[in-house]
């Protein structure tokens, strides 16, 4: 295209590309508002991108023309390298074609709007903007139309349309067959889809061979991993893992590689120290020398990635469920704590310690009542509902821990619909929201009065429970004494839930709703331990330690009822 046409085309495109866009609704707001393209148009046409492309195209064309100019100026006799020029031209024309195509899709919503009328274009603008054809074009169109309709002008219009359609179809099919023939010929002659690919400079053989070889290397490496496999004996752990692997690999790696990489092991120990710093509190506690943070030569020194020794699961992580059962396994040295000691310990210790202490206490309690285990086997369907009726039991809390236990139990049990009646108190409690409630229970004895209970209540989303709590404070002293008298027909046991509810009731105004509220929340937790069987004692212990202990729960009940 010559320079003028190019300029005109380019001049028009930016104008179309960055005009005040037409509002989709066609309404022009009088007030000065930012006008935007409608969402639909915006989806079809990325205006900014279009502008960028148009500007890029403009620059490319001007560059080409400039090159021509330079050549013409410096060396009038020379001609440009046509191969390059053709290549650049093809790109430019391709890009222009794309831009025009994209704009055509949305041209309906756009209007060409002359930005700048000056002496230069004042005369030509009306002509460009008018939709009436130029006289020559008009004549042309008339002759073409005549030629087209020569044979059928006299027929009715629909027939004319049909005949024209038939002609179009014929031409279309002719074109398709022609394309097919051309494509087949191309294939048979090996020309490939793109014309002119073989013109121009070709690489000399040596260079081409080198490049071919490199290409094969690269493709094989990416697709199949050729040339990337490190032999096993060289798969030594790197001194420092990249950050994204540091956290991932050490876990279990040491366990896996124990015994595998005897050869590697000693080497790794030297690198162990820096890596251990990376373990980020990895709770793996294998025997000393575990290769924490060692990168994954789980392939290892033996030459083959050898994972068959992964028999021992990795040590429990921080993310493994920290069930109370773990603490069960540690023997509790303390067997007898005075209530005072227990209270202080519970109050000041961390949660685990609290659990532990409670567990210990429970142990002590357990020892006093060895027959309790047998109770577990007998689970009668609980009567939480019955508890409701026992409203007048005074809550006598002899000791703090019992109080805590009671209240925790009460919360829990009231949520349970089913409870074996013969559970040892506290055994039936599985883990609730132990932490919060536990601490909150414990906290009540710090003198913060009911604040802890309040927190517990909030945790259980049942503030009504709090109203009952104040009553418990006074009755604490009675709890320890209740250890040995159980109601419910069992010498040592009463339904823990009954006990709890009684206490709850005893705490003041009976508040059925509060219990119900707690029931919902804690039902699940208590269920867990309500399994018959002596084994459940252990589990119950677990549960217990997570909540406040209530060794005196049964006794309390008995007293209450008596």
């Amino acid at each position: 295209m010559d320079a003028a046409a190019a300029a005109a085309a380019l001049g028009a495109t930016p104008a179309a590309g960055a005009p005040p866009p037409v509002a989709a609704a066609g309404e022009q707001q009088a007030a000065p508002r930012a006008e935007r393209l409608s969402a639909g148009v915006q989806q079809q046409l990325n205006l900014e991108g279009m502008r960028a492309r148009a500007v890029g195209l403009y620059k490319a064309i001007s560059r080409i023309l400039e090159d021509f100019d330079v050549i013409a100026r410096t060396n009038p006799g020379a001609s440009p390298k046509w191969q390059d020029v053709l290549g650049q031209f093809s790109m430019v024309s391709m890009e222009l074609f794309n831009i025009v195509e994209d704009i055509k899709n949305v041209s309906k919503v756009f209007v060409v709007y002359p930005r700048n009328v000056n002496a230069e274009n004042a005369t030509i603008l009306p002509v460009m903007l008018s939709s009436k054809l130029l006289p020559e074009m008009e004549v042309e169109e008339a002759t073409k139309r005549e030629h087209l309709l020569s044979g059928i002008a006299n027929l009715p219009v629909p027939t004319q349309i049909e005949k024209l359609k038939a002609r179009i179809d014929m031409i279309g099919s002719a074109c398709e067959t022609a394309e097919k023939v051309i494509a087949e010929c191309r294939k048979s002659y090996g020309l490939g889809a793109r014309q002119g690919a073989n013109l121009g400079p070709t690489l000399d053989k040596a260079q081409a061979a080198k490049i071919q070889e490199q290409e094969n290397l690269l493709r094989a490496a990416v697709n199949y991993g050729e040339g990337l496999r490190v032999p096993g004996d060289q798969r030594q752990p790197h001194s420092s893992l990249p950050s994204h692997l540091v956290e991932v690999l050490p876990f279990g790696d040491g366990a896996q590689n124990f015994g595998d990489n005897s050869g590697v092991y000693p080497k790794n120990t030297s690198t162990f120290a820096p890596n251990s710093a990376n373990t980020q509190g990895n709770p793996i506690q294998a025997s000393g020398g575990q290769l924490l943070g060692r990168p994954a030569p789980s392939p290892g020194a033996t030459g083959t990635p050898n994972f068959e020794n992964v028999s021992t699961p990795p040590m429990p992580y921080a993310n493994s469920p920290r069930s109370g059962a773990n603490m069960m396994n540690t023997p509790s040295p303390q067997q007898h704590l005075t209530p005072q000691q227990q209270r202080q310990k519970l109050m000041h210790a961390s949660q685990q310690q609290q659990l532990h202490a409670q567990q210990q206490q429970l142990h002590s309690q357990q020892q006093l009542r060895p027959s309790a285990a047998g109770m577990l086997a007998q689970s009668t369907i609980p009567q939480l509902q019955d508890l409701q009726g026992q409203a007048q039991q005074k809550l006598q809390v002899p000791g703090q821990q019992q109080m805590q236990y009671n209240q925790a139990l009460s919360q829990q049990f009231q949520n349970r619909q089913m409870q074996p009646g013969r559970m040892q108190p506290g055994m039936s409690q599985s883990q609730l929201n132990q932490g919060n409630q536990l601490r909150s229970h414990l906290g009540q004895f710090t003198g913060a009065a009911n604040s802890a209970m309040f927190t517990a209540a909030q945790a259980s989303s049942n503030s009504q429970m709090m109203a009952n709590m104040p009553g418990t404070m006074q009755s604490q002293s009675l709890l320890p004494q209740m250890q040995y008298g159980l109601t419910g027909g069992h010498p040592q046991r009463s339904h823990p839930s009954q006990m709890l509810t009684d206490q709850m009731f005893g705490m003041g105004a009976t508040n059925t709703t509060s219990m119900m509220g707690m029931q919902q929340q804690q039902q699940q937790g208590v269920y867990g331990n309500m399994q018959a069987g002596a084994q459940n004692m252990q589990q119950g212990m677990v549960g217990l330690q997570n909540q406040t202990q209530n060794p005196n729960f049964p006794q309390q009940r008995q007293q209450n009822q008596q």
């Binding site: 400039e66 490049i211 690999l249 994954a296």
Partner: protein, 217 residues
């Protein structure tokens, strides 16, 4: 499923290719830095060894892991007529424990690769992703900081587009059409076939890279 073609380009022309892709796609380029671990299943995991690739995206502040399983490619007369490779692919995001998990169930590291480069994702008839990366290998296990390119002078260009069984023809033609635009700079083909480089890529690259903004017409 995905349609994929690959090509190579000389490293000196990568910038020009970036300019071209930027112009064609209209989206900003994304950095690519992927640590690819290729795991093969051990003998205890079935008769046929399977291969799984774990991709760790290191370009983000927190690395994100992806599992990728590449299945067989379409075969037959129909497949030969299509100029792209159509193959089944399953990809999924995973947590960072995925490597440990695969090790635990018996997969072993076959090879690893570090890909550094950039990518463009855009929609042009189909959702197309063009990735230009240099493949780097690590002499020491997992030493991503010390990775050296497998072929320093050549980088890999990969164009992929997700497809389904019912529309892969359209996707393939969209990919092919887009590849035409890259013809001045590189040839693209199915991953198994070699292409060579474009002899005139230098000129095309020069024109792309020239600063432009010539005199106003």
């Amino acid at each position: 499923m995905e349609c994929v073609v690959q090509g190579i380009i000389e490293t000196q022309h990568v910038e020009a290719l970036e300019v071209l892709l930027q112009g064609l796609s209209g989206v900003p380029k994304e950095r690519v830095r992927v640590h690819e671990l290729c795991l093969k299943s051990g003998p205890n995991l079935g008769v046929v060894p399977s291969e799984v690739r774990l991709l760790c995206d290191l370009a983000q502040p927190t690395p994100s892991w992806t599992i990728r399983h590449v299945g067989g490619s379409m075969r037959g007369a129909g497949a030969e007529q299509i100029s792209v490779l159509v193959r089944t692919v399953v990809e999924s995001k995973a947590s960072k424990n995925v490597l440990h998990y695969f090790y635990t169930i018996g997969y072993k590291l076959d090879h690893e690769l570090l890909k550094i480069g950039f990518a463009f994702r855009f929609h042009r008839g189909a959702q197309i992703t063009v990735t230009v990366t240099s493949a780097n290998k690590m002499a020491k296990l997992h030493a991503t900081d010390e990775a050296v390119p497998v072929t320093p002078g050549i980088q890999l260009v990969e164009i992929t587009a997700p497809a389904a069984a019912d529309n892969y023809n359209d996707v393939a033609s969209a990919v092919t059409a887009f590849c035409e635009y890259l013809a001045p700079l590189l040839h693209l083909s199915k991953p198994g076939n070699t292409t060579g480089i474009v002899p005139t890529a230098g000129a095309a690259a020069a024109s792309l890279m020239s600063s432009g903004g010539g005199k106003t017409l």
